[in-house]
């Protein structure tokens, strides 16, 4: 059976929006040195205190190419959208079609110009004094996901499910030499299927919610005794992990069982109709934390399970998000490399159904959770921490709260309370990172 083929990714120029130093045109100057007409533009607008840069994003389906009347614009296999200036007649159709500021019209030559990434060595990025403009090599991202897709046809979860995506990503990294442990929840339908149809190619064990790590302990010890390298991997929800089955997880971490435990956190009991769990965000509306007279969603702060796990001086603990696949993959590889204890990965996996958001929004929500500091990305080895994706300038919390129904009732006071909870959580991790900094790993477990 054919396995799902992943799309090809390409390297790209990226700018941190609005983070340029005032009056700086280093990128434009560098581009102009190489090419007569600069293809990157600075937006230096002191009147509105904005200083940024725009450059072509090399679209996958470029509107400029479709509008060009001479076929001068083509998209190459490297992902570069190239404009052959010798074929340009200066009609401007590309500049009308592009809404991203990627086309430069040069009245002198009567022609258009656009960025072609200088064949993968953009002069502009090298010239940026602040690192605001960067050349990001994403083409290598997929090398982490080298194993076949774990599913057969007919996955039965809701369309747009982030947990399903997280499961796929996890086992494309882990590979087929694994036993997956699940508990009642959305993911048990991923691993065991509905009715008689299995939807994963992996051997899977449906455990109870109360004893996933205990069951794994037995299987893992027996596999080790038999000399097998097969890994025991849990893929369990926050209800199982944080509430119902936390005690055996704590025990397994403390004993140092050789298992990998992935908690996909959708902040509630989604499979049974959206009840709150202990990881549900403060202020969030669920069926058991409704909004009405005297009630405004969940009053408690969420339980930080990953931090609790790190406090066991666990071999490896990390938070990850479906919106940051490379970060997730690298952390999984570190988790798999652990030989002498438990590895725990807490995966943020928004449930657009339970969170009352559009079907295509789970990844955007996850991304915003990271960028607003709602969900900090960090890792810890034996209780020594580092942020893997620091957020020096968080986006406003309203951006996150505004795209989902479960937080829409929050007024300024509710948002402020949530904001304090979020900031406290982020600063707690930040403080741990400086008090107990991450130590360079031994050569044995680094990729």
């Amino acid at each position: 059976m054919a396995t799902l083929t992943l799309p090809v990714l390409h390297d790209t120029l990226t700018t941190e929006w609005g983070a340029c130093p005032p009056g700086c045109h280093a990128c434009v100057d560098a581009c102009a040195d190489h090419r007569a007409v600069p293809r990157i533009a600075t937006l230096d607008l002191p009147l509105v205190s904005f200083h940024g840069a725009v450059v072509c994003g090399q679209c996958g389906e470029p509107a400029c190419r479709d509008a060009c009347p001479t076929g001068a614009i083509t998209r190459e296999e490297t992902g570069v959208v190239r404009l052959d200036e010798g074929r340009c007649v200066g009609c401007g159709a590309c500049a009308v079609a592009c809404v991203w500021g990627g086309i430069t019209l040069d009245p002198q030559s009567g022609r258009a110009a656009k960025c072609d990434t200088c064949a993968g060595h953009p002069a502009c990025a090298g010239a940026c004094p602040t690192g605001t403009l960067r050349w990001v090599e994403t083409s290598g991202l997929l090398r982490h996901f080298g194993h076949p897709d774990p599913f057969t046809k007919g996955v039965s979860l809701c369309p747009g499910c982030a947990a399903e995506l997280g499961f796929r990503m996890a086992f494309r990294v882990i590979g087929p030499d694994a036993v997956v442990f699940v508990a009642p929840g959305c993911a048990c339908m991923l691993a065991c299927g509905l009715g008689t149809a299995a939807t994963t190619r992996l051997p899977s064990v449906l455990s109870l919610m109360t004893n996933v790590p205990s069951l794994m302990t037995g299987v893992a010890r027996q596999l080790k005794r038999s000399g097998a390298r097969t890994r025991c991997v849990a893929f369990a929800g926050d209800g199982t992990t944080a509430d119902v089955g936390f005690q055996p997880l704590s025990g397994a971490a403390e004993r140092g069982e050789h298992i990998v435990y992935i908690c996909y956190d959708n902040e509630g009991y989604m499979n049974t109709g959206v009840q709150r769990s202990s990881t549900t965000l403060r202020g969030a509306r669920t069926m058991t934390t409704p909004v009405g007279p005297g009630r405004a969603g969940k009053p408690q702060a969420p339980k930080d399970v990953a931090l609790l796990m790190a406090m066991h001086a666990t071999a490896y603990v990390a938070t990850a998000s479906v919106s940051h696949p490379e970060d997730f993959a690298i952390k999984l590889q570190r988790a798999l490399a652990v030989e002498d204890g438990l590895a725990y990965v807490h995966l943020y996996a928004p449930c657009h159904v339970g969170w009352q958001a559009p079907m295509d929004s789970a990844l955007e929500i996850a991304r915003l959770a990271v960028e607003t500091r709602v969900f900090p990305l960090w890792e810890a080895r034996r209780g020594r921490f580092r942020l893997t994706h620091p957020i020096p300038r968080p986006r406003p919390l309203e951006d996150f709260a505004g795209i989902m129904g479960r937080l829409r009732h929050l007024g300024p006071a509710g948002l402020e309370t949530l904001g304090r909870t979020v900031e406290d959580r982020y600063r707690r991790v930040e403080a741990l990172c400086s008090a107990l900094p991450w130590e360079a790993p031994g050569a044995d477990d680094e990729q």
Binding site: T42, L45, V89, A93, G101
Partner: protein, 418 residues
């Protein structure tokens, strides 16, 4: 995904090729047949004046590499025009007698020139300028031609006039336009007058506010009688008074049409399975009205939407928006949205040193913008109009630095900020 679908596309221009790209996003094996009335490699008529001016060679105007329309699943039938379609039996009939069955049909047959209503008892040759064949016929006559009358000062007429002057400085070109300005509809009166002045300084002549009513032969020359009673004696007459959707071959097809083929937001016509895109389509604009809009970005956008829906992906067209760029003699003219202030519109203008910027606002939001002689980004301005971005607070900045300010305002909303 359903079984293989047979796609037939009438036309091989910008809309047709964008549709092929969109179909191929998900359906690699579906057979696609493009039918071109002209025996040419797919090209856009936009290039004609540039070919005439010698700015680009005919060998370099192919819209796609040859393999694009000659692969295992895609083929081009060039030079065999469609003479009719049978919507009931789902076949297209070609002039050569062949019948092509289809599951999804796209009509992207483009536009054809409108013939001027004038008396021509002597049968004076009246050239048009919308096809490569027209260009070749015109070029064959140009050597030895000293004087040319171009009927119509729309974009085609003006670019033709510019090309004729660019090509041979001794050609005497007179442009006749029944409206009182050049480039009517596309650009405001003031911008148009600045274009006219610049053209005049390069030796072009204009007869605005009158139209040709009769042609007569006088020796080897032609006499054009104008509606104001005056006459022009010229060697050659080219009619560029406008284009209309090319849909004559669709008589009795049953597809609902007004000026063009009526389409909804998915580019679907009234007949299931038949779509239309580009100049031939009459569809929704960005502000909800229905009409034809024969420009390249609209054709590309409509083709993409039609192709996606033919491939059974539900995609809706954002609606066309008037947007014109006119580049001539080293000067850039950009106009987006409406060109003249309507009722309740505020008009803000800044003129200095040959630069002119103008914004038309409806309350807080932009409905039209034009910039002459200064850098501007038409795509970003389109975004501001289409997305109803509030801009009034930054109107001064937009007039001072249109390129940067429009990109900044557009990017803010593209990034999800208020």
């Amino acid at each position: 995904m359903t079984a293989t679908l047979r796609h037939v596309i009438i036309g091989a221009g910008t809309a047709a090729l964008a549709a092929v790209e969109a179909i191929r996003v998900g359906r690699h094996a579906d057979p696609i047949t493009l039918i071109s009335a002209e025996a040419e490699t797919p090209y856009s008529p936009t290039v004609l004046p540039h070919l005439l001016a010698g700015r680009i060679a005919e060998s370099r105007i192919a819209l796609r590499p040859p393999a694009f329309v000659a692969s295992a699943a895609t083929r081009l039938l060039a030079g065999d025009p469609v003479v009719g379609i049978d919507a009931g039996r789902r076949v297209v009939r070609l002039a050569g007698g062949a019948q092509l069955p289809w599951d999804r049909l796209l009509v992207a047959s483009g536009s054809e020139p409108v013939a001027p209503a004038l008396l021509n008892p002597d049968g004076v040759p009246l050239y048009t300028f919308t096809r490569l064949a027209d260009l070749r016929a015109l070029r064959a006559r140009l050597d030895g031609t000293r004087t040319v009358a171009v009927l119509g000062a729309g974009l085609i007429g003006m670019e033709l006039a510019e090309a004729l002057v660019h090509r041979s400085t001794y050609a005497e070109v007179t442009v006749v336009e029944q409206e009182p300005q050049v480039l009517p509809v596309a650009f405001s009166r003031e911008d148009a007058d600045s274009v006219r002045d610049l053209f005049q300084s390069r030796g072009l002549r204009f007869r605005l506010g009158c139209r040709a009513v009769a042609l007569e032969r006088r020796g080897a020359a032609a006499v054009v009688t104008l509606s104001d009673g005056s006459a022009l004696e010229v060697d050659l007459v080219v009619a560029c008074i406008g284009v209309r959707p090319r849909l004559g071959f669709l008589d009795r097809s049953g597809i609902a049409a007004r000026r063009g083929l009526l389409v909804d937001h998915r580019m679907a016509t009234s007949v299931p399975g038949i779509y239309a895109a580009g100049d031939v389509a009459e569809g929704p604009s960005a502000d909800g009205t229905i009409g034809c809009h024969a420009v390249l970005p609209a054709a590309a956008g409509q083709g993409r939407v039609a192709g996606a829906n033919m491939a059974e992906r539900r995609v809706e067209y954002e609606g066309w928006l008037p947007a014109n760029v006119f580049s001539f003699f080293g000067r850039l003219l950009v106009s987006v949205g409406v060109t003249e202030a309507g009722e309740g519109h505020a008009r803000l203008e800044r003129v200095s040193d040959g630069q002119r910027g103008r914004l038309l606002l409806d309350g807080d939001r932009l409905v039209g913008a034009s910039f002459a002689g200064m850098p501007a980004d038409p795509g970003a301005l389109c975004w501001l109009i289409r997305e109803r971005v509030p801009v009034k607070r930054h109107a001064d900045l937009l007039l001072d630095r249109p390129l940067e300010a429009s990109r900044w305002l557009a990017a803010r909303t593209q990034r999800g900020a208020a």
